[in-house]
């Protein structure tokens, strides 16, 4: 994943980190270099857009 702010590559293992206010997690990955929150597409959306199939 490329950070939307600094365009550096975010390592795949970077955990989704939120402030803890949303029950289901905010599904955002914080860039370890600049702190920008990058949205992580939900599995449903990925399936709808056929990304998983492409990856496979």
């Amino acid at each position: 994943m490329i950070c939307g702010f600094c365009h550096r590559e975010i390592p795949e293992e970077t955990p989704e980190k939120g402030c803890g206010r949303c029950g289901g997690g905010c599904r955002k990955v914080h860039c370890p270099y600049c702190g920008y929150e990058n949205p992580l597409p939900s599995p449903l959306l990925e399936r709808l857009l056929g990304r998983k199939e492409k990856k496979k």
């Binding site: 550096r8 939120g18 206010r21 599904r27 955002k28 270099y33 929150e37 857009l49």
Partner: protein, 658 residues
């Protein structure tokens, strides 16, 4: 073959070892495959889940083990991958380190080459992707670069197998005794010597590199030095603390800037641009966005077309008119109210579902018909701007203003991020150096930076009254600068420094924009929908018990002072649940024709400045503690109502906006 974490592949101690290092996506793996062929093993680095590729090759009769390390941006690690790559260099004693860089971004990547040379590692520089750089019109004098760096430099386009022979020859003929030393500024050199003279232990890196990394506050190296130096560590730590105190600047930043300066000198005469080179529009545009004379008008254009026209007129005008005015007000609400009136004999249940603050008539309507179309269009504009690479340039542009008001440039990042979500941006203030900076950035975020949802709704709200939008923007910017000016008085010191890498500008990909927008909308809808329902239930309970009326009455004198009708008090109460909920409340009042343009302006300014939402307040408490967050709350509330009061008087006097 893939091994488990517990069973790492052990290195063959008899082979000479070649390490491939460099940023991600520079062609390390292609070079690895070209050198080793298909016979490679993958293992996890001991104790981690980071994969390391190992293979062997024979060059001119000498067998080598080749290791492809995870991508790293510098010797100072931030991520697990970078830490593993650095530890490998430190612990596994390579015979040759091939630093692979992208010729197109040589200036950005050369500082790491300097770090590797400083570390005393046997480096060969591979300037890769040379073919594409040449296609862009760049010409390199690699012999001069080799002379200046004092290490072998090979130009390559590994994907096209260009330069492979030269790389192999450089590996075989490598003389590790060659070593260049790069001079930094006199004060920095003094600091480096001071730290190196304190170090007594033996490490995998040169003392000079160790000193630089310690001054940059590398945590894992500090721990290593602590364990090696034992009693002497206090002397090392004392020296670093004294240097940091004396300099009163971020040493990490200072060293990085100094390294960049050295690199600039090294590259002088090395790169030239082809006269025939086609105009690089992205590069030109990039420069224009960061130059204040052209950057500010461009920013205004982005705001006008991206936000005012698209979000304000199209999102908040056309789409909301259709959904709110057409679908809900004309069709769904009357039908639902009639249905409930016919089939629900209990007034309390009718009120809960279809009353003034009903779940459907208020909660669902606000979330679906008002907020969602506005934030939807806002997210489209946001994703386009984000993907084009405009944000870092905006940060650079704003940084110039920040310097004028004495704020540290690093505060740009949380402030710019605040336009997305202030709660998250408050967390990001952790990256600021001092408590004072963190406090001021938190205050500014709570006061004058509207979050994306609130910004979207406010833009939609004020787009009908253009004069109001100008006054609102001016008030926010004015207050922001005023607080910045005060902070400059409170924070005397050296001129702040800020630098960040600027990625290339690119054309946003429609598919990427769509995915990001849908993701954000899905997350947003799932988050706000239950909250809007909960808020309408709380408001309903308040109405049924009379508590809401009481609270509204308590706020009446304040509303009167601001020149606002009594109903606006409810919007302010909504606002504390969520920033956009309050703005949506104002939107409702405006469509009912309750607010005059002047009242709308005062209400929008006061509501934007007014307390942050509950979530942001809780995070402020978590990050800054009760005392600071309550003080910020008090200051923000006082400032919001004072500005609202003053603005009302001013607008009454001038009669603007009419």
């Amino acid at each position: 073959m893939k091994c488990a974490v517990e069973n790492p592949v052990q290195a063959d101690q008899n082979l000479r070892r070649i390490f491939l290092v460099g940023n991600p996506n520079v062609g390390k793996s292609v070079l690895f495959n070209a050198l080793t062929g298909a016979y490679t093993t993958v293992s996890n680095y001991p104790g981690t889940s980071v994969e390391v590729f190992r293979g062997t090759c024979e060059i001119h009769g000498v067998r080598y083990e080749v290791l492809d390390t995870p991508g790293m941006y510098s010797l100072l690690p931030i991520t697990e991958e970078e830490r593993v790559a650095r530890d490998m260099l430190l612990n596994e004693r390579p015979d040759v380190v091939l630093h692979v860089i992208d010729a197109r971004n040589i200036e950005r990547m050369l500082p790491m080459t300097l770090q590797l040379i400083e570390a005393g590692l046997p480096v060969i520089l591979v300037v890769n992707i040379l073919d594409e750089a040449e296609r862009l019109g760049l010409r390199f004098d690699l012999h001069l670069l080799e002379e200046k760096l004092g290490i072998p430099v090979v130009g390559a386009a590994v994907r096209r197998r260009r330069g492979l022979k030269e790389i192999r020859a450089a590996i075989v003929g490598f003389d590790p005794s060659q070593k260049a030393v790069f001079g930094y500024a006199v004060d920095l050199e003094r600091d480096i010597s001071r730290v190196t003279s304190c170090l007594s232990g033996q490490y995998g890196l040169d003392a000079r590199a160790m000193a630089l990394l310690l001054m940059q506050r590398d945590e894992s190296l500090t721990e290593l030095v602590r364990s090696v130096e034992k009693d002497n560590f206090a002397v090392v730590e004392g020296a670093i603390n004294e240097i940091a105190f004396d300099r009163r600047v971020d040493l990490h930043l200072r060293i990085s800037l100094e390294r960049k300066r050295v690199c600039k000198g090294v590259l002088e005469g090395v790169i030239s641009e082809d006269g025939q080179r086609a105009i690089d529009w992205a590069g030109k545009l990039s420069e224009l966005t960061m130059n204040p004379w052209t950057g500010v008008p461009l920013l205004l254009l982005v705001l006008y077309f991206g936000l005012y026209q698209f979000v304000g007129n199209f999102g908040a005008g056309t789409i909301v008119d259709f959904l709110e005015g057409g679908l809900f007000e004309k069709n769904l609400n009357p039908w639902f109210i009639d249905f409930c009136r016919t089939y629900l004999p209990w007034n309390w249940l009718f009120e809960l579902l279809a009353g003034e603050y009903g779940i459907f008539t208020l909660g669902v309507r606000y979330a679906v018909a008002i907020v969602l179309p506005i934030v939807g269009t806002f997210f489209i504009a946001f994703s386009v701007i984000e993907d084009s690479g405009y944000f870092p340039r905006l940060a650079m542009l704003v940084d110039r203003v920040f310097k004028q008001i004495g704020l540290n440039g690093r505060a740009v990042i949380p402030i710019v991020l605040g336009f997305g979500c202030d709660t998250m941006a408050t967390i990001v203030t952790r990256t600021l150096e001092t408590r004072r900076e963190r406090l001021i950035a938190t205050l500014l975020l709570a006061l004058a930076i509207p979050c994306s949802a609130q910004l979207g709704v406010i833009l939609g709200l004020l787009s009908a009254v253009p004069g109001a939008l100008v006054i609102w923007g001016g008030s926010m910017a004015g207050l922001f600068l005023f607080i910045g000016f005060l902070s400059a008085r409170l924070m005397p010191g050296e001129k702040p420094m800020f630098y960040m890498e600027i990625p290339p500008m690119r054309l946003p990909q429609p598919r990427n924009v769509l995915v990001k927008t849908l993701t954000r909308m899905q997350w947003y809808f799932l988050e706000i929908f239950p909250l809007f329902i909960l808020a309408s239930v709380i408001l309903w309970a308040g109405k049924m018990t009379g508590a809401l009326q009481w609270l509204v009455e308590v706020m009446q004198p304040v509303m009167r002072l601001l020149g606002l009708p009594g109903q606006t008090a409810a919007a302010f109460i909504f606002g504390f649940f969520r920033r956009d909920f309050g703005a949506a409340g104002l939107y409702d009042l405006q469509t009912k024709g309750i607010l005059s343009p002047a009242q709308l302006t005062v209400a929008a300014v006061t509501l934007t400045l007014f307390v942050p939402c509950v979530a942001q307040f809780l995070i402020m408490k978590k990050e800054r503690g009760w005392k600071a967050s309550l003080a910020i709350f008090a200051v923000v509330t006082l400032l919001a109502f004072s500005v609202g009061f003053g603005l009302n008087r001013l607008l009454l006097l001038t009669g603007v906006p009419g």
